[in-house]
């Protein structure tokens, strides 16, 4: 399973990240950020700019076992493509999705929450994004652990991630 032996606070090794964006500059920056954070896994990047490309996304996800999706779509008429994709991911694959948006609109935030994304992050892209990724992947791991073990994780696992995670663990 991807990310075995992963400790909170460390970047999950081998995590397969799907990076979807229509902005070539943002793609380069995010990739650089991930690499700089000693992330060594596989980054698959896709431009999402029309409906044809969107149709290829879901099958691609299934085949390649992605661990995380970073999604930047324009929330305008074109964006319904992105939201349909989210529905597909949410329903079928349970992969954490983090949205990167160039807009701060509340509308977008609401829509993305309804469609089940893990986080909504306003561009510009900066190192805090990496922390956010780490946090969300960790959260998912805890969920999985609980489902398997019907118990909570030992508390030393929480120390490194600090306040944020220990606050959220109870609601996971």
């Amino acid at each position: 399973m991807d990310g075995d032996g992963f400790l909170p606070g460390e970047f999950p090794a081998g995590l397969r990240v799907l990076l979807v964006d229509g902005d070539p500059i943002s793609l380069v920056i995010v990739k650089k950020l991930l690499r700089t954070s000693l992330y060594e896994g596989h980054i698959l990047q896709l431009f999402l700019q029309n409906a044809t490309e969107q149709k290829r996304l879901c099958p691609c996800l299934e085949r390649r076992k992605m661990g995380l999706i970073l999604l930047c779509v324009m929330f305008t008429c074109l964006a319904w493509i992105g939201l349909k994709f989210l529905d597909c991911v949410e329903r079928e694959m349970d992969i954490p999705v983090i949205i990167l948006s160039a807009d701060e609109g509340d509308d977008d935030l609401l829509k993305s929450v309804i469609h089940g994304t893990s986080a909504f992050y306003v561009k510009p892209v900066c190192p805090r994004l990496v922390q956010s990724i780490s946090e969300h992947v960790f959260r998912k791991k805890v969920k999985e652990w609980r489902a398997l073990n019907k118990s909570t994780l030992p508390s030393e696992h929480f120390q490194i991630m600090g306040q944020i995670c220990s606050k959220d663990i109870d609601t996971v």
């Binding site: 229509g22 500059i25 380069v28 920056i29 650089k32 305008t76 510009p124 900066c126």
Partner: protein, 150 residues
């Protein structure tokens, strides 16, 4: 001696880009990502930005010549331009993008045209300044690293 002078000049030029509002904090984030593996990372991003922006500006130009104006289309292009301007820290250009999109939202064609002219001006100015700045950096030699003012 000369080396020190050119480093000072570079630092002064760089600082003026921030002081005059051309660039914001995001540019510093990009500088911090630059390392030995990618020693020209920021300049590469800038080059990508020029290419992407000129494509979008062309599209906008053509779209603004149509009648009636397709505000959705205009907004889409401008959203993209805003995104990339945000990613590089192009503060003034980003502000013009926001203003333009506001005019799109209210269907104000004249406002769009006016703002677009202003945007092209700001973009042209920024591009010239960045190109001059990177040229200085390159001429100073590979040991020159942009340093963040304390």
């Amino acid at each position: 001696m000369e080396r020190n002078q050119s480093r000072r000049q570079i630092a002064v030029t760089r600082q003026s880009l921030f002081d005059q509002g051309f660039l914001d904090e995001q540019f510093v984030q990009l500088e911090e990502l630059q390392d030995d593996a990618n020693p020209n990372f920021v300049e590469e991003i800038a080059t990508l930005y020029y290419r992407d922006s000129s494509r979008l500006i062309n599209n906008l130009e053509q779209a603004l010549e149509k009648s009636p104006l397709d505000f959705n289309k205009l907004d889409n292009y401008m959203h993209q331009l805003k995104g990339s301007s945000t990613s590089i820290g192009a503060k003034k250009v980003k502000a013009e993008c926001t203003q333009f999109r506001e005019y799109c939202r209210t269907g104000n064609g004249e406002g769009c045209v006016r703002t677009f002219q202003q945007l092209k001006k700001e973009y042209g100015l920024l591009k010239r300044k960045l190109e001059a700045y990177f040229q200085m950096v390159r001429q100073a030699g590979p040991s020159q690293v942009a340093c963040r003012p304390k």
